[in-house]
Point group: C2
Protein backbone atom coordinates (compact mmCIF):
# COMPACT_ATOMS: atom_id res chain seq x y z
CA UNK A 1 0.00 0.00 0.00
CA UNK A 2 0.98 3.57 -0.60
CA UNK A 3 0.97 6.15 2.17
CA UNK A 4 0.45 9.91 2.32
CA UNK A 5 1.36 11.89 5.42
CA UNK A 6 -0.65 15.05 6.09
CA UNK A 7 1.44 17.08 8.51
CA UNK A 8 5.16 16.31 8.54
CA UNK A 9 5.72 17.10 12.19
CA UNK A 10 6.85 15.24 15.30
CA UNK A 11 4.37 12.40 14.75
CA UNK A 12 3.68 12.29 11.00
CA UNK A 13 7.30 12.95 10.15
CA UNK A 14 8.48 10.12 12.38
CA UNK A 15 6.03 7.40 11.32
CA UNK A 16 6.13 8.44 7.66
CA UNK A 17 9.91 8.29 7.67
CA UNK A 18 9.85 4.85 9.34
CA UNK A 19 7.45 3.54 6.67
CA UNK A 20 9.60 4.94 3.84
CA UNK A 21 12.77 3.55 5.39
CA UNK A 22 11.15 0.09 5.35
CA UNK A 23 10.75 0.38 1.57
CA UNK A 24 7.20 1.67 1.24
CA UNK A 25 6.23 4.55 -0.99
CA UNK A 26 5.32 7.61 1.09
CA UNK A 27 4.23 11.11 0.06
CA UNK A 28 4.50 13.95 2.51
CA UNK A 29 2.50 17.17 2.66
CA UNK A 30 4.54 19.91 4.31
CA UNK A 31 3.95 23.60 4.69
CA UNK A 32 6.60 25.69 6.38
CA UNK A 33 9.53 23.36 5.67
CA UNK A 34 8.48 22.08 2.24
CA UNK A 35 11.48 23.65 0.49
CA UNK A 36 13.92 22.40 3.11
CA UNK A 37 12.61 18.82 2.93
CA UNK A 38 12.59 18.89 -0.87
CA UNK A 39 16.25 19.83 -0.92
CA UNK A 40 17.65 18.03 2.11
CA UNK A 41 15.15 15.31 2.95
CA UNK A 42 14.10 14.27 6.44
CA UNK A 43 16.43 13.83 9.40
CA UNK A 44 15.27 11.58 12.24
CA UNK A 45 17.24 11.68 15.45
CA UNK A 46 15.91 8.66 17.27
CA UNK A 47 16.56 6.90 20.56
CA UNK A 48 16.44 3.72 18.46
CA UNK A 49 19.10 5.01 16.03
CA UNK A 50 19.37 8.15 13.89
CA UNK A 51 18.72 8.09 10.16
CA UNK A 52 18.29 10.47 7.24
CA UNK A 53 16.02 10.10 4.20
CA UNK A 54 17.84 12.02 1.48
CA UNK A 55 15.08 11.84 -1.08
CA UNK A 56 11.54 12.49 0.06
CA UNK A 57 8.38 12.91 -2.03
CA UNK A 58 7.20 16.14 -0.50
CA UNK A 59 4.42 18.44 -1.68
CA UNK A 60 3.47 21.92 -0.63
CA UNK A 61 -0.21 21.81 -1.63
CA UNK A 62 -2.85 19.09 -1.33
CA UNK A 63 -3.83 19.49 -5.00
CA UNK A 64 -0.33 18.29 -5.98
CA UNK A 65 -0.52 15.04 -3.99
CA UNK A 66 -0.54 11.86 -6.14
CA UNK A 67 -3.21 9.20 -5.56
CA UNK A 68 -2.75 7.12 -2.43
CA UNK A 69 -4.14 4.21 -0.43
CA UNK A 70 -3.68 5.38 3.14
CA UNK A 71 -3.67 8.93 4.47
CA UNK A 72 -2.01 9.51 7.84
CA UNK A 73 -3.62 12.55 9.44
CA UNK A 74 -0.91 13.93 11.68
CA UNK A 75 -1.68 17.62 11.95
CA UNK A 76 -2.46 19.14 15.32
CA UNK A 77 -6.21 19.04 15.93
CA UNK A 78 -6.12 22.85 16.09
CA UNK A 79 -5.92 22.61 12.28
CA UNK A 80 -8.84 20.21 11.91
CA UNK A 81 -10.97 22.97 10.46
CA UNK A 82 -8.75 22.75 7.37
CA UNK A 83 -8.91 18.95 7.00
CA UNK A 84 -11.84 18.91 4.59
CA UNK A 85 -9.91 21.12 2.17
CA UNK A 86 -6.64 19.24 2.63
CA UNK A 87 -8.04 15.73 2.19
CA UNK A 88 -10.59 16.39 -0.54
CA UNK A 89 -8.05 16.17 -3.41
CA UNK A 90 -6.78 12.73 -2.33
CA UNK A 91 -9.74 10.90 -0.85
CA UNK A 92 -11.40 8.42 -3.24
CA UNK A 93 -13.86 5.63 -2.54
CA UNK A 94 -12.13 3.21 -0.18
CA UNK A 95 -9.19 5.49 0.67
CA UNK A 96 -8.10 4.84 4.23
CA UNK A 97 -7.85 7.81 6.59
CA UNK A 98 -5.78 6.87 9.65
CA UNK A 99 -6.02 9.55 12.32
CA UNK A 100 -2.83 9.85 14.39
CA UNK A 101 -4.12 12.71 16.53
CA UNK A 102 -4.95 13.02 20.20
CA UNK A 103 -8.40 13.76 21.50
CA UNK A 104 -11.93 12.55 21.02
CA UNK A 105 -14.32 12.65 18.07
CA UNK A 106 -11.91 13.29 15.17
CA UNK A 107 -12.78 10.02 13.37
CA UNK A 108 -16.52 10.60 13.63
CA UNK A 109 -16.11 14.06 12.09
CA UNK A 110 -13.94 12.81 9.24
CA UNK A 111 -16.37 10.01 8.55
CA UNK A 112 -19.16 12.56 8.17
CA UNK A 113 -17.00 14.67 5.84
CA UNK A 114 -15.80 11.66 3.80
CA UNK A 115 -18.41 8.89 3.97
CA UNK A 116 -16.70 7.16 1.01
CA UNK A 117 -13.47 6.69 3.02
CA UNK A 118 -12.47 4.07 5.57
CA UNK A 119 -11.67 5.86 8.81
CA UNK A 120 -9.33 4.34 11.38
CA UNK A 121 -7.91 5.78 14.56
CA UNK A 122 -4.37 5.44 15.87
CA UNK A 123 -3.14 6.26 19.33
CA UNK A 124 0.57 7.11 19.22
CA UNK A 125 2.47 6.50 22.45
CA UNK A 126 5.50 8.45 21.47
CA UNK A 127 7.70 11.18 22.84
CA UNK A 128 8.86 13.08 19.79
CA UNK A 129 9.41 16.69 18.87
CA UNK A 130 9.99 18.70 15.74
CA UNK A 131 13.40 20.25 16.26
CA UNK A 132 13.58 22.31 13.10
CA UNK A 133 12.91 22.20 9.36
CA UNK A 134 12.81 18.54 8.26
CA UNK A 135 14.26 17.51 11.60
CA UNK A 136 12.41 15.15 13.96
CA UNK A 137 13.66 14.10 17.38
CA UNK A 138 12.29 10.79 18.65
CA UNK A 139 13.00 10.75 22.36
CA UNK A 140 11.21 7.75 23.82
CA UNK A 141 8.51 5.09 23.27
CA UNK A 142 6.96 4.91 19.80
CA UNK A 143 4.29 2.21 19.82
CA UNK A 144 0.87 2.65 18.29
CA UNK A 145 -2.49 1.15 19.06
CA UNK A 146 -5.13 1.36 16.38
CA UNK A 147 -8.80 0.58 15.95
CA UNK A 148 -11.35 0.99 13.16
CA UNK A 149 -14.21 3.46 13.47
CA UNK A 150 -16.55 0.92 11.83
CA UNK A 151 -16.53 -2.73 12.81
CA UNK A 152 -16.17 -4.09 9.27
CA UNK A 153 -12.83 -2.40 8.59
CA UNK A 154 -10.65 -4.73 10.64
CA UNK A 155 -9.02 -6.40 7.60
CA UNK A 156 -7.76 -3.12 6.18
CA UNK A 157 -6.44 -2.20 9.59
CA UNK A 158 -4.59 -5.53 9.82
CA UNK A 159 -2.92 -4.92 6.45
CA UNK A 160 -1.76 -1.50 7.58
CA UNK A 161 -0.63 -3.01 10.87
CA UNK A 162 1.63 -5.40 8.97
CA UNK A 163 3.25 -2.45 7.17
CA UNK A 164 3.92 -0.70 10.46
CA UNK A 165 5.28 -3.87 12.02
CA UNK A 166 7.65 -4.41 9.09
CA UNK A 167 8.71 -0.78 9.47
CA UNK A 168 9.75 -1.47 13.06
CA UNK A 169 6.80 0.26 14.69
CA UNK A 170 5.18 -1.75 17.44
CA UNK A 171 1.45 -1.74 16.77
CA UNK A 172 -1.44 -3.22 18.73
CA UNK A 173 -4.72 -3.75 16.91
CA UNK A 174 -7.82 -3.04 18.92
CA UNK A 175 -11.51 -3.32 18.20
CA UNK A 176 -13.02 -0.61 20.35
CA UNK A 177 -11.96 2.85 19.15
CA UNK A 178 -13.81 4.92 21.79
CA UNK A 179 -12.20 2.96 24.63
CA UNK A 180 -8.79 3.28 22.97
CA UNK A 181 -9.27 7.05 22.57
CA UNK A 182 -10.29 7.47 26.21
CA UNK A 183 -7.38 5.30 27.25
CA UNK A 184 -5.00 7.63 25.43
CA UNK A 185 -6.65 10.60 27.14
CA UNK A 186 -5.72 8.98 30.45
CA UNK A 187 -2.20 10.26 29.73
CA UNK A 188 -2.92 13.29 27.60
CA UNK A 189 -5.45 15.05 29.79
CA UNK A 190 -3.34 15.20 32.95
CA UNK A 191 0.16 15.67 31.56
CA UNK A 192 -0.51 18.07 28.69
CA UNK A 193 -2.56 20.45 30.79
CA UNK A 194 -0.51 20.23 33.98
CA UNK A 195 2.74 20.75 32.11
CA UNK A 196 1.39 24.09 30.86
CA UNK A 197 -0.26 25.31 34.06
CA UNK A 198 2.62 24.20 36.29
CA UNK A 199 5.38 25.00 33.80
CA UNK A 200 6.87 21.56 34.37
CA UNK A 201 7.93 18.38 32.60
CA UNK A 202 6.68 14.89 33.42
CA UNK A 203 9.54 14.17 35.82
CA UNK A 204 8.96 17.31 37.87
CA UNK A 205 5.25 16.53 38.05
CA UNK A 206 5.77 12.92 39.12
CA UNK A 207 8.53 13.64 41.63
CA UNK A 208 6.34 16.11 43.51
CA UNK A 209 3.67 14.75 45.89
CA UNK A 210 1.26 17.51 44.87
CA UNK A 211 2.07 17.05 41.18
CA UNK A 212 1.46 13.32 41.17
CA UNK A 213 -1.69 13.81 43.27
CA UNK A 214 -2.96 16.20 40.59
CA UNK A 215 -2.15 13.75 37.80
CA UNK A 216 -3.93 10.97 39.65
CA UNK A 217 -7.04 13.02 40.38
CA UNK A 218 -7.29 13.99 36.71
CA UNK A 219 -6.79 10.39 35.59
CA UNK A 220 -9.52 9.22 37.91
CA UNK A 221 -11.86 11.67 36.24
CA UNK A 222 -10.85 10.43 32.78
CA UNK A 223 -11.83 6.96 33.99
CA UNK A 224 -15.17 8.34 35.18
CA UNK A 225 -15.75 10.13 31.87
CA UNK A 226 -14.87 7.01 29.92
CA UNK A 227 -17.20 4.92 32.07
CA UNK A 228 -20.01 7.40 31.43
CA UNK A 229 -19.47 6.79 27.71
CA UNK A 230 -19.48 3.02 28.16
CA UNK A 231 -15.69 2.60 28.02
CA UNK A 232 -14.03 0.73 30.84
CA UNK A 233 -10.38 0.18 31.68
CA UNK A 234 -8.53 -2.38 33.76
CA UNK A 235 -8.88 -1.64 37.49
CA UNK A 236 -5.18 -0.80 37.74
CA UNK A 237 -5.13 1.46 34.65
CA UNK A 238 -4.52 4.65 36.66
CA UNK A 239 -1.75 3.16 38.77
CA UNK A 240 -0.08 1.72 35.68
CA UNK A 241 -0.23 5.01 33.78
CA UNK A 242 1.23 6.88 36.76
CA UNK A 243 4.05 4.34 36.96
CA UNK A 244 4.61 4.42 33.17
CA UNK A 245 5.09 8.18 33.39
CA UNK A 246 7.19 8.02 36.55
CA UNK A 247 9.83 5.89 34.85
CA UNK A 248 9.83 7.48 31.41
CA UNK A 249 12.44 9.93 30.13
CA UNK A 250 11.56 13.45 31.42
CA UNK A 251 9.32 14.89 28.75
CA UNK A 252 7.65 18.18 27.89
CA UNK A 253 4.29 17.22 26.35
CA UNK A 254 3.34 18.72 22.99
CA UNK A 255 0.88 21.12 24.56
CA UNK A 256 3.63 22.71 26.62
CA UNK A 257 5.77 23.16 23.53
CA UNK A 258 2.77 24.66 21.72
CA UNK A 259 2.11 27.04 24.59
CA UNK A 260 5.73 28.05 25.01
CA UNK A 261 6.02 28.77 21.29
CA UNK A 262 2.84 30.84 21.20
CA UNK A 263 0.90 28.29 19.16
CA UNK A 264 -2.72 27.39 19.83
CA UNK A 265 -3.26 24.47 22.20
CA UNK A 266 -5.35 21.39 21.39
CA UNK A 267 -8.04 22.30 23.91
CA UNK A 268 -11.08 21.51 21.80
CA UNK A 269 -10.46 17.84 21.03
CA UNK A 270 -8.39 16.99 24.09
CA UNK A 271 -10.52 18.71 26.76
CA UNK A 272 -13.79 20.18 25.52
CA UNK A 273 -15.02 17.15 23.58
CA UNK A 274 -14.35 14.63 26.36
CA UNK A 275 -16.02 17.02 28.82
CA UNK A 276 -19.01 17.35 26.51
CA UNK A 277 -19.22 13.60 25.90
CA UNK A 278 -19.31 12.92 29.65
CA UNK A 279 -21.68 15.80 30.29
CA UNK A 280 -24.13 14.43 27.71
CA UNK A 281 -24.21 11.29 29.85
CA UNK A 282 -24.88 13.39 32.93
CA UNK A 283 -21.37 13.13 34.37
CA UNK A 284 -19.40 16.23 35.33
CA UNK A 285 -15.61 16.14 35.54
CA UNK A 286 -14.71 19.11 37.77
CA UNK A 287 -10.92 18.74 37.77
CA UNK A 288 -10.76 18.41 34.00
CA UNK A 289 -13.19 21.30 33.51
CA UNK A 290 -11.07 23.44 35.79
CA UNK A 291 -7.87 22.54 33.98
CA UNK A 292 -9.52 23.27 30.62
CA UNK A 293 -10.62 26.70 31.80
CA UNK A 294 -7.17 27.45 33.18
CA UNK A 295 -5.63 26.51 29.83
CA UNK A 296 -8.18 28.60 27.95
CA UNK A 297 -7.37 31.54 30.21
CA UNK A 298 -3.63 31.14 29.69
CA UNK A 299 -4.11 30.94 25.93
CA UNK A 300 -6.24 34.10 25.86
CA UNK A 301 -3.96 36.03 28.19
CA UNK A 302 -0.61 34.87 26.90
CA UNK A 303 2.18 37.29 27.67
CA UNK B 1 -7.53 51.39 74.92
CA UNK B 2 -3.98 50.96 73.88
CA UNK B 3 -3.05 48.99 70.78
CA UNK B 4 -0.05 46.95 69.70
CA UNK B 5 0.45 45.93 66.09
CA UNK B 6 2.34 42.69 65.46
CA UNK B 7 3.50 42.87 61.85
CA UNK B 8 3.76 46.35 60.37
CA UNK B 9 2.90 45.37 56.82
CA UNK B 10 0.16 46.13 54.29
CA UNK B 11 -2.62 45.37 56.77
CA UNK B 12 -1.16 45.98 60.24
CA UNK B 13 0.68 49.09 59.08
CA UNK B 14 -2.47 50.59 57.59
CA UNK B 15 -4.90 49.95 60.45
CA UNK B 16 -2.31 50.73 63.11
CA UNK B 17 -1.51 54.02 61.41
CA UNK B 18 -5.22 54.88 61.14
CA UNK B 19 -5.71 54.20 64.87
CA UNK B 20 -2.69 56.33 65.81
CA UNK B 21 -3.80 59.14 63.51
CA UNK B 22 -7.12 59.23 65.37
CA UNK B 23 -5.25 59.95 68.60
CA UNK B 24 -4.89 56.49 70.11
CA UNK B 25 -1.66 55.14 71.51
CA UNK B 26 -0.24 52.45 69.24
CA UNK B 27 2.94 50.37 69.48
CA UNK B 28 4.33 48.64 66.44
CA UNK B 29 6.51 45.55 66.21
CA UNK B 30 8.60 45.63 63.05
CA UNK B 31 11.43 43.47 61.87
CA UNK B 32 13.11 44.34 58.61
CA UNK B 33 12.16 48.04 58.57
CA UNK B 34 12.37 48.75 62.31
CA UNK B 35 15.27 51.18 61.91
CA UNK B 36 13.60 52.98 58.99
CA UNK B 37 10.31 53.41 60.87
CA UNK B 38 12.10 54.55 64.04
CA UNK B 39 13.84 57.31 62.10
CA UNK B 40 11.28 58.30 59.49
CA UNK B 41 7.93 57.04 60.77
CA UNK B 42 5.18 55.49 58.67
CA UNK B 43 4.05 56.74 55.29
CA UNK B 44 0.54 55.79 54.15
CA UNK B 45 -0.35 56.45 50.55
CA UNK B 46 -4.09 55.99 50.58
CA UNK B 47 -6.92 56.28 48.08
CA UNK B 48 -8.71 58.16 50.89
CA UNK B 49 -5.82 60.64 51.30
CA UNK B 50 -2.11 60.22 51.98
CA UNK B 51 -0.60 60.85 55.39
CA UNK B 52 2.63 60.41 57.29
CA UNK B 53 3.13 59.58 60.97
CA UNK B 54 6.47 61.18 61.82
CA UNK B 55 6.79 59.69 65.26
CA UNK B 56 5.94 56.05 65.73
CA UNK B 57 6.48 53.84 68.77
CA UNK B 58 8.24 51.00 67.03
CA UNK B 59 10.04 48.03 68.56
CA UNK B 60 12.29 45.42 67.01
CA UNK B 61 11.73 42.65 69.57
CA UNK B 62 8.62 41.45 71.39
CA UNK B 63 10.39 41.58 74.76
CA UNK B 64 10.69 45.37 74.36
CA UNK B 65 6.96 45.95 73.80
CA UNK B 66 5.24 47.92 76.57
CA UNK B 67 2.03 46.58 78.16
CA UNK B 68 -1.05 46.87 75.99
CA UNK B 69 -4.79 46.28 75.88
CA UNK B 70 -5.32 45.06 72.33
CA UNK B 71 -2.89 43.18 70.10
CA UNK B 72 -3.54 43.30 66.38
CA UNK B 73 -2.07 40.15 64.80
CA UNK B 74 -1.24 41.18 61.25
CA UNK B 75 1.58 38.88 60.24
CA UNK B 76 1.15 36.53 57.31
CA UNK B 77 -0.15 33.19 58.55
CA UNK B 78 3.04 31.63 57.19
CA UNK B 79 4.64 33.09 60.34
CA UNK B 80 2.03 31.73 62.76
CA UNK B 81 4.54 29.20 64.06
CA UNK B 82 6.31 32.17 65.69
CA UNK B 83 3.19 33.72 67.26
CA UNK B 84 3.54 32.01 70.62
CA UNK B 85 6.99 33.49 71.07
CA UNK B 86 5.99 36.91 69.75
CA UNK B 87 2.86 37.32 71.87
CA UNK B 88 4.04 35.72 75.11
CA UNK B 89 5.80 38.88 76.41
CA UNK B 90 2.69 41.07 76.01
CA UNK B 91 -0.30 38.83 76.71
CA UNK B 92 -1.72 39.20 80.22
CA UNK B 93 -5.03 38.05 81.65
CA UNK B 94 -7.75 39.78 79.65
CA UNK B 95 -5.48 41.07 76.88
CA UNK B 96 -7.39 41.18 73.61
CA UNK B 97 -5.87 39.42 70.60
CA UNK B 98 -7.54 40.63 67.42
CA UNK B 99 -6.54 38.45 64.44
CA UNK B 100 -6.44 40.39 61.17
CA UNK B 101 -5.30 37.43 59.08
CA UNK B 102 -6.93 35.45 56.30
CA UNK B 103 -7.77 31.80 56.56
CA UNK B 104 -9.46 29.46 58.98
CA UNK B 105 -8.62 28.30 62.49
CA UNK B 106 -6.14 30.98 63.59
CA UNK B 107 -8.31 32.17 66.51
CA UNK B 108 -8.86 28.66 67.84
CA UNK B 109 -5.10 28.05 67.84
CA UNK B 110 -4.33 31.32 69.61
CA UNK B 111 -7.00 30.64 72.18
CA UNK B 112 -5.34 27.31 72.98
CA UNK B 113 -1.94 29.00 73.27
CA UNK B 114 -3.27 31.91 75.37
CA UNK B 115 -6.35 30.79 77.29
CA UNK B 116 -6.05 33.88 79.50
CA UNK B 117 -6.58 36.20 76.50
CA UNK B 118 -9.74 37.35 74.75
CA UNK B 119 -9.49 36.28 71.12
CA UNK B 120 -11.38 38.12 68.40
CA UNK B 121 -11.25 37.74 64.64
CA UNK B 122 -11.26 40.49 62.02
CA UNK B 123 -11.83 40.09 58.30
CA UNK B 124 -10.14 42.94 56.44
CA UNK B 125 -11.66 43.82 53.09
CA UNK B 126 -8.77 45.89 51.90
CA UNK B 127 -6.52 46.20 48.89
CA UNK B 128 -3.21 47.33 50.31
CA UNK B 129 0.43 46.60 49.72
CA UNK B 130 3.70 47.23 51.43
CA UNK B 131 5.64 49.35 48.96
CA UNK B 132 8.88 49.57 50.87
CA UNK B 133 10.32 50.25 54.32
CA UNK B 134 7.70 52.03 56.42
CA UNK B 135 5.64 52.66 53.29
CA UNK B 136 2.09 51.34 52.92
CA UNK B 137 -0.05 51.78 49.80
CA UNK B 138 -3.80 51.58 50.42
CA UNK B 139 -5.35 51.05 47.00
CA UNK B 140 -9.04 50.31 47.54
CA UNK B 141 -11.71 49.31 50.06
CA UNK B 142 -10.67 49.14 53.73
CA UNK B 143 -13.64 47.97 55.76
CA UNK B 144 -13.42 45.35 58.48
CA UNK B 145 -15.90 42.88 59.83
CA UNK B 146 -15.15 41.38 63.22
CA UNK B 147 -16.54 38.72 65.51
CA UNK B 148 -15.55 37.22 68.87
CA UNK B 149 -14.31 33.66 69.15
CA UNK B 150 -16.30 33.24 72.37
CA UNK B 151 -19.85 34.49 72.70
CA UNK B 152 -19.31 36.45 75.90
CA UNK B 153 -16.71 38.81 74.42
CA UNK B 154 -19.10 41.00 72.43
CA UNK B 155 -18.73 44.03 74.73
CA UNK B 156 -14.97 44.18 74.32
CA UNK B 157 -15.41 43.87 70.57
CA UNK B 158 -17.89 46.76 70.58
CA UNK B 159 -15.41 48.98 72.44
CA UNK B 160 -12.72 48.20 69.88
CA UNK B 161 -15.24 48.74 67.11
CA UNK B 162 -15.84 52.27 68.41
CA UNK B 163 -12.10 52.98 68.27
CA UNK B 164 -11.94 51.80 64.66
CA UNK B 165 -15.03 53.80 63.72
CA UNK B 166 -13.55 56.96 65.26
CA UNK B 167 -10.35 56.23 63.31
CA UNK B 168 -12.30 56.30 60.06
CA UNK B 169 -12.32 52.54 59.52
CA UNK B 170 -15.70 51.14 58.60
CA UNK B 171 -16.30 48.16 60.86
CA UNK B 172 -19.19 45.71 61.00
CA UNK B 173 -19.64 43.70 64.19
CA UNK B 174 -20.75 40.13 63.70
CA UNK B 175 -21.58 37.34 66.09
CA UNK B 176 -20.62 34.23 64.15
CA UNK B 177 -16.87 34.07 63.60
CA UNK B 178 -16.78 30.79 61.59
CA UNK B 179 -19.35 32.11 59.10
CA UNK B 180 -17.46 35.39 58.82
CA UNK B 181 -14.18 33.53 58.21
CA UNK B 182 -15.75 31.34 55.50
CA UNK B 183 -17.35 34.42 53.98
CA UNK B 184 -13.93 36.04 53.66
CA UNK B 185 -12.61 32.85 52.07
CA UNK B 186 -15.28 33.29 49.41
CA UNK B 187 -12.97 35.96 47.97
CA UNK B 188 -9.59 34.74 49.14
CA UNK B 189 -9.73 31.17 47.93
CA UNK B 190 -10.53 31.90 44.28
CA UNK B 191 -8.61 35.12 43.68
CA UNK B 192 -5.43 34.43 45.62
CA UNK B 193 -4.87 31.03 44.07
CA UNK B 194 -6.00 31.88 40.55
CA UNK B 195 -3.89 35.01 40.44
CA UNK B 196 -0.81 32.85 41.06
CA UNK B 197 -1.66 29.93 38.78
CA UNK B 198 -2.90 32.15 35.96
CA UNK B 199 -0.36 34.94 36.51
CA UNK B 200 -3.20 37.47 36.42
CA UNK B 201 -4.82 40.27 38.38
CA UNK B 202 -8.49 40.42 39.38
CA UNK B 203 -9.48 42.41 36.31
CA UNK B 204 -7.91 39.95 33.87
CA UNK B 205 -9.59 37.07 35.68
CA UNK B 206 -13.03 38.69 35.68
CA UNK B 207 -12.87 39.96 32.10
CA UNK B 208 -12.18 36.46 30.77
CA UNK B 209 -15.11 34.03 30.46
CA UNK B 210 -12.90 31.12 31.54
CA UNK B 211 -11.38 33.17 34.37
CA UNK B 212 -14.71 34.23 35.83
CA UNK B 213 -16.04 30.68 35.40
CA UNK B 214 -13.09 29.43 37.45
CA UNK B 215 -13.69 32.03 40.16
CA UNK B 216 -17.37 31.10 40.31
CA UNK B 217 -16.73 27.35 40.50
CA UNK B 218 -14.27 27.89 43.36
CA UNK B 219 -16.70 30.18 45.19
CA UNK B 220 -19.46 27.62 44.89
CA UNK B 221 -17.19 25.12 46.59
CA UNK B 222 -16.41 27.59 49.37
CA UNK B 223 -20.17 27.84 49.91
CA UNK B 224 -20.38 24.03 50.02
CA UNK B 225 -17.47 23.82 52.46
CA UNK B 226 -19.01 26.49 54.66
CA UNK B 227 -22.37 24.71 54.61
CA UNK B 228 -20.66 21.47 55.64
CA UNK B 229 -19.34 23.35 58.68
CA UNK B 230 -22.75 24.78 59.52
CA UNK B 231 -22.10 28.24 58.02
CA UNK B 232 -24.58 29.56 55.50
CA UNK B 233 -24.51 32.65 53.29
CA UNK B 234 -27.17 34.64 51.51
CA UNK B 235 -28.33 32.85 48.36
CA UNK B 236 -26.82 35.56 46.15
CA UNK B 237 -23.45 35.62 47.98
CA UNK B 238 -21.51 34.18 45.05
CA UNK B 239 -23.05 36.51 42.48
CA UNK B 240 -22.45 39.50 44.74
CA UNK B 241 -18.81 38.58 45.35
CA UNK B 242 -18.20 38.12 41.62
CA UNK B 243 -19.74 41.52 40.94
CA UNK B 244 -17.81 43.14 43.82
CA UNK B 245 -14.59 41.90 42.23
CA UNK B 246 -15.64 42.77 38.70
CA UNK B 247 -16.01 46.46 39.57
CA UNK B 248 -13.08 46.84 41.92
CA UNK B 249 -9.74 48.45 41.03
CA UNK B 250 -7.56 45.83 39.24
CA UNK B 251 -5.66 44.12 42.03
CA UNK B 252 -2.91 41.59 42.50
CA UNK B 253 -3.85 39.62 45.62
CA UNK B 254 -1.29 39.25 48.38
CA UNK B 255 -0.57 35.63 47.46
CA UNK B 256 0.52 36.66 43.98
CA UNK B 257 2.87 39.27 45.43
CA UNK B 258 4.23 36.65 47.84
CA UNK B 259 4.77 34.17 45.02
CA UNK B 260 6.35 36.71 42.68
CA UNK B 261 8.75 37.82 45.42
CA UNK B 262 9.77 34.28 46.31
CA UNK B 263 8.02 34.33 49.68
CA UNK B 264 6.03 31.44 51.09
CA UNK B 265 2.33 31.45 50.28
CA UNK B 266 -0.45 31.23 52.87
CA UNK B 267 -1.50 27.76 51.74
CA UNK B 268 -1.98 26.17 55.12
CA UNK B 269 -4.59 28.48 56.64
CA UNK B 270 -6.20 29.64 53.41
CA UNK B 271 -6.51 26.26 51.64
CA UNK B 272 -5.48 23.25 53.71
CA UNK B 273 -7.49 24.10 56.83
CA UNK B 274 -10.75 24.84 55.01
CA UNK B 275 -10.27 21.64 52.98
CA UNK B 276 -9.68 19.69 56.18
CA UNK B 277 -12.65 21.27 57.95
CA UNK B 278 -14.98 20.30 55.09
CA UNK B 279 -13.41 16.88 54.75
CA UNK B 280 -14.00 16.19 58.46
CA UNK B 281 -17.68 16.75 57.70
CA UNK B 282 -17.49 14.32 54.78
CA UNK B 283 -17.50 16.99 52.05
CA UNK B 284 -14.79 17.07 49.39
CA UNK B 285 -14.01 20.27 47.49
CA UNK B 286 -12.27 19.08 44.30
CA UNK B 287 -11.65 22.47 42.67
CA UNK B 288 -10.15 23.93 45.85
CA UNK B 289 -8.07 20.79 46.45
CA UNK B 290 -6.76 20.99 42.91
CA UNK B 291 -5.88 24.65 43.22
CA UNK B 292 -4.14 23.99 46.54
CA UNK B 293 -2.04 21.24 44.98
CA UNK B 294 -1.16 23.43 42.02
CA UNK B 295 -0.03 26.18 44.40
CA UNK B 296 1.97 23.70 46.45
CA UNK B 297 3.63 22.45 43.29
CA UNK B 298 4.47 25.97 42.14
CA UNK B 299 5.89 26.83 45.54
CA UNK B 300 8.10 23.70 45.59
CA UNK B 301 9.24 24.11 41.99
CA UNK B 302 9.68 27.85 41.91
CA UNK B 303 12.07 28.98 39.22
Amino acid sequence: MKYTVIGTGAVGGYYGAMLQKSGLEVDFLARSDYEHIRQKGLKVESCRGDFVLDRVNVYPKPEDLPPTDVILVALKTTANGTLEKLLKPVVRKGTVILVLQNGLGMEQELSLLFPEAVVLGAMCFICSQKKGDGHIAHLDKGSISAAPLREGDGDLLRAIGEDFTRAGVEITLLEDLPTARWNKLLWNIPYNGLSVVLGADTKQIMESPSGSRLAKALMEEVVAGAAACGCSFAPDAVEKMLEYTRVMTPYEPSMKLDFDKGRRMELEYMYRRPLRAASEKGVSLPHIAMLADQLAFLEENRK
